[in-house]
């Protein structure tokens, strides 16, 4: 009797469980086919005095371009719109008819209004997830009256990227680089998408290794503009004093990089046989030695917390990556693969160090984590891929490649996708440094 009860119970439990399992077998979805969101960008309402159709159109074109530059969005042509082309209001309670947007395949809707007058350039926008009919982000900010529509549009686009990805887009950032397009190696600055190239130096000497200050207001670079030795100079549009950084002591000054506070720089100095890394203030004072071996020690790059420096040393006979405390001291070797590893760049999120590794006389770009546990290729090519630099959102890397013959700058996503060429009009374009988010 009891045994049969137990058996019955067992059967009942088993049966229930089987029925449950049958009902709840999960549907496993591996990799959605969609690679980007389709976004409907309304024409922003114009509350300016006076109104300007031209401004609104330029703003919208730049906004759509910047959204597509992110790789996250794909625009929906105006002709497909079922809902209104122009935003009526971004105020609370302003309803939208989500089916109008989902029916045309829009995953997202961007609405907004701009108002430009003597006091400034105001913009307000609202981003909708149309499938859930929910607004993901609503922002309103004020730019200076002289801001151009393209500049403001790119900032809006970068925020919209954040609404979907959790990190800002980088269309409103700048990249500094070296180009010999005029016959001399000069420093240039361009928008992150490769547009708007302009000169930052014009001294007809040799200039190299630009490096942005964390506030984006200055660039440190190496130049032969005074004499026949390379010296470090600052170019500044902010508080820093432009001109030569350090007094000359007969040594070459090869390269300088800002620390994350922007208060000090690590500088590579050389007397010929070996080189060392020192740190100085932005005024060129308080020089502290960070390395002191007889080896060649170059290419410093700070961790984003400013506590560590990754650099290159040939102390074992071949250049390899090492990590030391930002105040100097003992260094830990990081790379053990390959006979020639150089040009490290620490990602702003701290997770990766991009570097060059030499393969048959050419360079590839690899990523290694700061603990040295994961070491993987990012860019490989029969030609050289060199000088990696991180975007401020840590999602892209810009680098120089000779894959088309001349050196040009390319960007690639951290996961190895979305390779894009940024330069290509003229000259060799090398040594990129990606500037910070605008403030």
């Amino acid at each position: 009797m009891r045994a049969s009860h137990a058996v019955l119970l067992l059967v009942a439990v088993l049966a229930a469980a089987r029925a449950h399992a049958q009902d709840r077998a999960p549907v496993v979805i591996e990799g959605g086919k969609g690679k980007s969101y389709r976004i409907a960008v309304q024409r922003f309402a114009d509350n300016s005095t006076p109104k300007s159709d031209d401004r609104i159109s330029r703003f919208r074109d730049a906004l759509q371009d910047a959204l597509e530059f992110s790789g996250l969005f794909q625009r929906i042509p105006d002709g497909a719109f079922l809902g209104p082309l122009t935003t009526d209001s971004v105020d609370d309670g302003a309803p939208i008819a989500c089916p109008d947007w989902t029916q045309i395949g829009a995953d997202a809707l961007l609405q907004g209004e701009i108002a430009r007058d003597a006091n400034g350039f105001q913009v307000a926008f609202r981003v909708w997830d149309t499938a859930r009919c929910r607004d993901l982000m609503r922002r309103r900010y004020s730019q200076k009256a002289t801001a151009n529509p393209e500049e403001v549009a790119r900032r809006v686009a970068d925020d919209v990227v954040e609404a979907f990805l959790g990190v800002r887009g980088v269309s409103s950032t700048e990249i500094a680089f070296v180009s010999d397009r005029t016959g001399n190696k000069e420093i240039y600055v361009m928008e992150a998408d490769g547009s708007g190239v302009r000169k930052a130096t014009a001294n007809r000497s040799i200039n190299n290794f630009p490096n942005w200050s964390p506030d984006g207001q200055a660039i440190a670079y190496t130049s032969y503009r005074q004499g026949n030795k390379p010296l470090i100079f600052l170019s500044s549009r902010g508080a820093l004093r432009p001109g030569r950084l350090l007094a000359t002591d007969g040594r070459s000054q090869y390269r300088a990089v800002f620390d994350p506070t922007g208060e000090r720089l690590a500088v590579v100095l050389s007397n010929g046989g070996s080189s060392e890394i020192v740190s100085v203030t932005t005024a060129g004072k308080d020089l502290r030695k960070l390395t002191s071996s007889s080896a060649i020690e170059v290419s410093p790059s700070y961790s984003p917390d400013g506590n560590r420096i990754v650099f290159v040393s040939d102390r074992t006979g071949a250049p390899q990556l090492y990590i030391m405390d930002a105040n100097g001291g003992a260094a830990q070797r990081l790379t053990f693969n390959g006979a020639y590893n150089t040009n490290p760049a620490w990602s702003p999120d701290g997770l990766w160090i991009a570097y060059e590794t030499r393969v048959d006389g050419q360079f590839d770009i690899w990523l290694i984590d700061p603990e040295g546990k994961v070491n993987v290729p990012l860019v490989t090519n029969e030609r050289s891929d060199e000088a990696p630099a991180w975007a401020p959102n840590s999602r892209h890397v810009v680098f120089s490649s000779t894959r088309r013959g001349r050196a040009d700058l390319y960007m690639i996503d951290r996961d190895g996708s979305n390779l894009r060429r940024l330069t290509g009009d003229a000259g060799n374009n090398t040594a990129p440094s990606w500037g910070p988010f605008p403030r």
Binding site: A21, R24, V27, A339, W352, N375, V376, P377
Partner: protein, 259 residues
């Protein structure tokens, strides 16, 4: 009734209760394994979890021993054959074998492969068969077979414990196939997430027509809220799904990688 006999009776009752209790526990444990195990044990090693959550890796990171170059779409650059200016006319290099010179370091347990981070709700072979069928379905417009082969019509049983397998009816299996193809077709995986080891579980209430009722419920988060959002957005956008065998709650697991 004496106290002693009461005592005997109590004892027997206790024994019986204990027996039933243990039996229930044992069965629950077994069934728990059967039902839950596909979702557990996927991220056991804390050190690996950290690595997984912190980084987004190139494809090759996931299989470092093969170390192929990440599949960078060469849109901007012509393929090597088209190159006109051979500044450095060297033959293509065998990239894979050049860098990993140090065998101790290179395959340094980098990351769990996506497969390893993937729940295995089915025995491996069945999963592959399912995927093969899915691909076939995606390519052809042929309706799913109404009768699944016998060995496919099982799921999620930790064989070896009791030898029992939990049956999935051919009807449910056929719907799962259709639902996969449908949801996969509309779900957008944002760039950058595709190579990360992310896994989100959601439970969705479906009516008989396949329409999603209310908000999908996230039952296991990936650790990346924006990835989780993309999942909820995807399943919402997928409404209506193919009509399920019955209305009610259905579980979905979303992985960013195809393989």
């Amino acid at each position: 009734m004496t106290g002693a006999s009461d005592g005997q009776h109590d004892l027997r009752q206790r024994e019986f209760r204990r027996f039933v209790g243990w039996s229930a526990c044992a069965h629950l444990a077994v069934l728990g394994l059967a039902v839950i195990s596909p979702f557990s044990g996927t991220r056991i090693d804390p050190s690996q979890v950290i690595a997984v959550d912190l980084v987004s890796l190139p494809a090759s990171a996931l299989a470092p021993s093969q170390a192929p170059a990440p599949p960078a779409p060469k849109k901007a650059a012509p393929p090597p054959e088209e190159k006109v200016v051979p500044a450095q006319p060297e033959p293509p290099k065998p990239k894979e074998i050049v860098l990993p010179k140090n065998p101790e370091r290179e395959p340094s347990k980098p990351k769990p492969k996506p497969k390893e981070a993937t729940p295995k709700p089915q025995p491996e072979k069945d999963l592959e068969d399912l995927l093969a069928d899915m691909r076939k379905e995606a390519g052809e417009t042929e309706p799913a077979p109404t009768q699944a082969p016998a060995e496919q019509a099982t799921a999620a049983a930790p064989s070896g414990v009791t030898g029992a397998t939990v049956a999935v009816s051919p009807e449910v299996l056929a719907w799962i196939r259709k639902a996969k193809v449908h949801v996969r077709g509309v779900w957008v995986v944002p760039p950058g997430f595709r190579r990360e080891a992310l896994e989100t579980h959601v439970t969705v209430e479906l009516d008989a027509s396949g329409a999603v009722i209310g908000e999908p419920e996230i039952t296991q988060r990936s650790g990346n809220p924006w990835y989780d959002e993309s999942v909820v957005r995807g399943i919402t956008k997928a409404s209506p799904l193919p009509p399920p065998p019955h209305a009610g709650e259905w579980d979905f697991v979303f992985l960013p990688n195809e393989d």
